[in-house]
């Protein structure tokens, strides 16, 4: 995985609890790591062996952007720094190179650009691949799961077949 730069966090206030091994930043919280930016009302940072390994962000909504090609928002976002994955829950939305994924839960791998979207309750999964993306080399590697028995729970527009592997591109 590509080495990432330092992680900068700014906020109005911070609270750190030794026993919990975590710190909570609250009020206009921003996290910047290279081109990746997260904006939230609150972020809880988890350390392991003094290393920052995980960020749990909540917001109305939490917003995330990375360069031109990726942006996302949801009520909650968990950024696993080591595994380099994002898990968005609560009105989750990801747009990657024009393709959009919505669902109750959307998982995104920063390395493979793979998207896993799943529905829950009445929130369905929605996948939109613009026409121009179907012909050019911006295919999508998406795994869509419907968590309940309703076969029509997955709605995709533009493309109806499974798409070939996406080319990895560095942010």
């Amino acid at each position: 995985a590509p080495m990432e730069g330092t992680i900068q966090v700014t906020a109005d206030n911070g609270r750190f609890e030794q026993s919990a091994g975590s710190g909570v930043y609250s009020g206009n919280v921003e996290l910047i790591q290279g081109k990746r930016k997260l904006f939230a009302d609150e972020m809880r940072m988890f350390t392991q062996n003094s290393e920052l390994v995980r960020v749990e962000a909540t917001g109305t909504p939490v917003r995330m952007e990375e360069g031109e090609g990726l942006n996302a928002h949801a009520e909650n976002l968990v950024y696993n720094i080591k595994a380099r994955t994002l898990v968005l829950t609560g009105d989750a939305y990801i747009e990657h190179q024009g393709n959009t994924f919505e669902g109750a839960k959307v998982e995104y791998s920063l390395d493979s650009k793979r998207v896993d979207a799943s529905s829950e309750g009445d929130q369905r999964v929605r996948l939109v691949i613009p026409a121009e993306n179907q012909t050019t080399n911006a295919p999508v590697d998406a795994n869509i799961e419907a968590n309940n028995s309703n076969p029509n729970d997955t709605q995709s527009e533009g493309s109806d077949s499974a798409s070939p592997k996406a080319e990895p591109n560095t942010p």
Partner: protein, 185 residues
């Protein structure tokens, strides 16, 4: 002539007596002397070392040293030069140093002023600020102004800090900026 002389002598004598009594009742402080009395040191000590032990198990709790210490009689204040306070803590001892120190409130409140450094080698944490107040009764330290903290995986700056050493909770206020090294993948 004599009587007038006598009167005048008696008059002067009486006047003098009244003056003396008035001056005596005036608490003997002449104008401008109040400040000198208040600032007059009661005790001056050099190369001071003081230890305080836990009532529970007798273990060393605080060890305070200072190059010099001045205690005032009319002013419940003790001033120190180059104080060093070592505080035992089950999560590693904290050492506070600064240019000056002031002890107030019967020893409960110690203020550290000028190039204040707080260090905990076990937790690999260092704090730098210009002013820090430590209440040994509540075991709470506060900094009213900018503070910078360095720890193993990064550093943090804030506008103010409050640390509860009993609970192990640190509150940072008035703007917080942290920088973490990215973990090795």
């Amino acid at each position: 002539m004599k009587r007038q002389g006598l009167l005048s002598a008696t008059g002067i004598l009486l006047l003098g007596l009244v003056m003396l009594m008035t001056l005596h009742e005036w608490d003997s402080a002449l104008p401008g002397q109040d400040n000198a009395v208040a600032m007059a040191p009661a005790i001056i000590a050099d190369q001071v070392s003081a230890r305080a032990f836990s009532e529970k198990d007798g273990s060393l709790q605080y060890h305070l040293t200072a190059d010099s210490l001045v205690q005032f009689d009319h002013n419940p204040l003790t001033k120190m030069q180059a104080p060093v306070l070592i505080m035992a803590n089950d999560k590693g001892s904290w050492t506070i140093t600064s240019e000056q120190g002031i002890v107030q409130e019967d020893g409960d409140l110690i203020s550290f002023l000028g190039k204040v450094n707080v260090n905990n080698p076990i937790q690999k944490m260092t704090v730098n600020t210009e002013e820090l107040h430590f209440n040994s009764d509540t075991n709470i330290a506060t900094t009213p102004g900018d503070v910078e903290m360095r720890f193993d995986s990064g550093q943090t700056r804030a506008g103010a800090l409050e640390a509860d050493l009993n609970k192990g909770v640190l509150e940072l206020k008035q703007g917080v900026k942290s920088e973490f090294e990215a973990p090795a993948s």
